[in-house]
């Protein structure tokens, strides 16, 4: 685990520095409005999102499992990463602005409650996707072509399941900007950060497709078994997320 520990330490250090850079610069905008600083903040928010999503979470497991169990191309993985990023950004924006403007005070406590509800909804959706994948694999085991076409329908469901839980990291940036009265910059930072996260999530999908291609060739005849295992893993992920 030596390597993993070093990896985690580096990720944390980078995020700690990026987080500090963003907050100091956003605050400085309150004293002097400067387009260059705003653009730098958005660039750094993008990198922050990219690094932030490398750490555990953000639906990478779900995306990787999905692409392990479904034959796909890299383009689809890229598209999926970005669908998740868009949903992630919007859910963070809606949650933050919604809670902030409706409830104003007691934000922190309510945020925890809402976050838990969103997590449960996401878990139920992931369980649904798992069941759907198992059903697809089972019913499509003799109709490969048909199955391949049908499976693309579940992509949106996967993206929704992974993206609906708003990222507390994005919410923090948005709320920080809102508190300082930088509403537009808050919304743009959330989008920039989500684009960064989308890139990382896409890479997780692309990697699992690349690894899947190497092994799947040998097992092409029995591919539906792999697909079912993938579905079962997605289902277990949903159950674990629901329970904790």
């Amino acid at each position: 685990m030596e390597f993993y520990a070093k990896f985690l330490q580096t990720l944390v250090q980078w995020q700690y520095q990026l987080n500090s850079f963003i907050s100091t610069n956003i605050r400085s905008l309150n004293y002097e409005n400067n387009l260059n600083t705003s653009l730098i903040i958005l660039g750094v928010a993008f990198v922050y999102g990219l690094v932030h999503a490398i750490g555990p979470g953000h639906g990478k497991a779900l995306v990787a499992l999905y692409f392990t169990s479904n034959k796909s191309d890299y383009k689809k993985a890229f598209k999926m990463g970005y669908m998740i990023a868009i949903i992630h950004a919007f859910s963070a924006l809606i949650f933050t602005f919604g809670i902030f403007f409706i409830l104003k005070t007691m934000f922190r406590k309510n945020f925890n409650e809402f976050s838990e509800i969103a997590m449960q909804i996401s878990a139920v959706m992931i369980i649904g996707v798992g069941i759907y994948l198992i059903y697809e694999a089972y019913s499509g085991r003799k109709h490969k072509e048909k199955h391949f076409k049908k499976s693309s329908k579940s992509e949106l469901a996967v993206a929704f399941s992974a993206g609906i839980v708003p990222c507390p990291g994005v919410m923090t940036i948005v709320l920080f900007c809102v508190v300082l009265g930088q509403y537009t910059l808050g919304a743009l930072s959330a989008i920039a950060m989500s684009i960064g996260m989308g890139l990382t999530i896409s890479v997780a999908g692309i990697l699992s497709i690349a690894l899947g291609r190497k092994t799947n060739g040998l097992l092409n005849e029995k591919a539906y078994i792999l697909e079912m295992i993938g579905g079962l893993l997605v289902l277990s992920l949903g159950i674990i997320l629901f329970v904790i």
Partner: protein
């Protein structure tokens, strides 16, 4: 290979990653190889601080008053109890339970700070302080220059806790 990869990300997905950063400033005094005072100061990152200050500095005077301090201690700081205040005092490898004393919240350079003391009637020789959040929602940050020590010397190093990263203080 595919399954190792899949299982790795499957497991790691269950764990969160840091969203809040807390710098830890320990101030420790040692007399005759025993701790005579142990004080910790946490400095929360600016983003988290700003959001919390908005709510916790209820009269918005830029300071934490007595009433606000009591509220923070009761409603916020006590929430860290189940997490052992992200601080593990280990004597002979056993975790010692402690109750924080003299809690004080302050605002310094737009950052929210929590200060508290703990009692330490033990020998420094076999004592280690570890800092970290096993849920990895919070990242505790400790650097050499954050430590103030009298009467002994200290070593700061990182610890690998499998799925989260922490720091430890060893005394000599």
């Amino acid at each position: 290979m595919k399954y190792i990869f899949t299982f790795l990300i499957f497991f790691s997905s269950v764990f969160a990653h840091p969203h809040t950063f807390i710098e830890v400033y320990p101030t420790v005094e040692v007399q005759k190889s025993k701790f005579s005072s142990i004080h910790f100061k946490w400095v929360l990152d600016e983003m988290t601080s700003t959001i919390l200050i908005m709510e916790l500095d209820s009269n918005a005077n830029g300071k934490i008053d007595k009433k606000e301090n009591d509220y923070i201690e009761k409603e916020y700081f006590s929430m860290f109890k189940p997490y052992n205040y992200y601080t593990y005092v280990k004597v002979d490898k056993k975790v010692i339970k402690f109750k924080p004393k003299n809690f004080k919240a302050t605002i310094e350079n737009h950052k929210l700070c929590y200060s508290f003391d703990i009692n330490g009637e033990f020998d420094i020789k076999n004592t280690i302080f570890e800092f970290g959040d096993s849920d990895f929602y919070v990242a505790m940050v400790l650097k050499d220059e954050f430590v103030t020590i009298k009467g002994a010397s200290v070593k700061v190093s990182g610890i690998d806790n499998d799925f989260y990263y922490g720091y430890k203080l060893e005394f000599e």
